[in-house]
Amino acid sequence: MDLLDLKQISPDEVVFWEWRFVTINATLVFTWVVMFVLVLGSWLVTRTLTTGPTISRWQNLLEVVVDGIRREIAGIVQERPERYLAFIGTLFLFIFLSNLLNIVPGFVYVAPTASLSTTAALAICVFFAVPIYSIANEGFLGYLKNFLLPTPLMLPFKIIGEVSRTLALAVRLFGNIMSGTKIVAILMAVAPLIFPILMHALGLLTGVIQAYIFAVLAMVYIASASRAREEEREEELLNQHSKLEEDEQKPTRAQDGVSDHG
């Protein structure tokens, strides 16, 4: 916590290196650290993948993580989760790791998610992912039609909702992580013995929960963009089913009638 002065609320303000208009600040450096750890770790583990009865510990860990994310996504979208796995999994793992690296001892670190620029970038990714997935699912017209359901009167509110939820996504993550960092810094100045560790532990808990919530909310937004369409499809299916049942029932009644007469 030495890196972030008490007066600074964002790691953007910690500048390591500056040359004309190029500025390397703490946010950039630690984003690259997190990316490096993720990429290098995955690369090292996936180099020696096996399907035999014994698998390495690291492969086991990775399988548990990926399978957990898959199951969470499948619980939300009620379809095959593979299409969303890459995007949602990347979001979750990046936020998770960047919040978690705080505990590495001897490593002066500020979570890049404590900067509004990082969280805004992640939220903008979600903002663009929603129409992309929706268009891939049901075509451009189907996506536009979502805005006019249930009535065209709701159009402005739906557009405002798209923007405001992106803002909320960014500010929520930023506020949570920034508050954790800030409170630890304040406690370090006021009572540096044990209390900062307790708040740090609490900060880790919030970090994990916020990573989960960010991923789940992104998934819910993406899923809800194609939900209206799904309901229509389900209704059609139901109608077809009831028609089929009626068709099935008619002949049996006729047969019953015949047998009665006989």
């Binding site: 007066k7 609320i9 909320a168 500010v171 929520r172 506020g175 920034m178 789940v216």
Partner: protein, 93 residues
């Protein structure tokens, strides 16, 4: 009182008021949400996955109002633009 003192006093007072009031509403809301989620869990333990996930999402939504208040109060205390402006004014004038 000069401008600098006034800005400092009102900023700190408002920051405390913001986080205080901003904690009350979300606390009541989250209490209600958790209470209904618990009774729902007690009635339908089989649906615990869906209920828990929806609870988390709902709590995140409610909590974000408190987080907004916190961010505002943090800016008032640590990154107050008016404070910087008036310190520059006093230093310059």
């Amino acid at each position: 009182m000069d401008n600098l003192g006034l800005v400092g006093m009102i900023s700190i007072f408002t920051a405390g008021l913001t986080i205080g009031l901003g904690a009350i509403g979300p606390a009541l809301g989250e209490g209600r949400a958790v209470a209904s989620a618990l009774s729902a869990l007690a009635q339908q333990p089989d649906e615990s996955n869906t209920i828990t996930r929806t609870l988390f999402v709902g709590l995140a939504m409610i909590e974000s109002t408190a987080i907004y208040c916190f961010v505002v109060s943090m800016i008032l205390i640590f990154a107050n633009p008016f404070w910087d402006y008036f310190t520059q004014q006093t230093a310059g004038g």
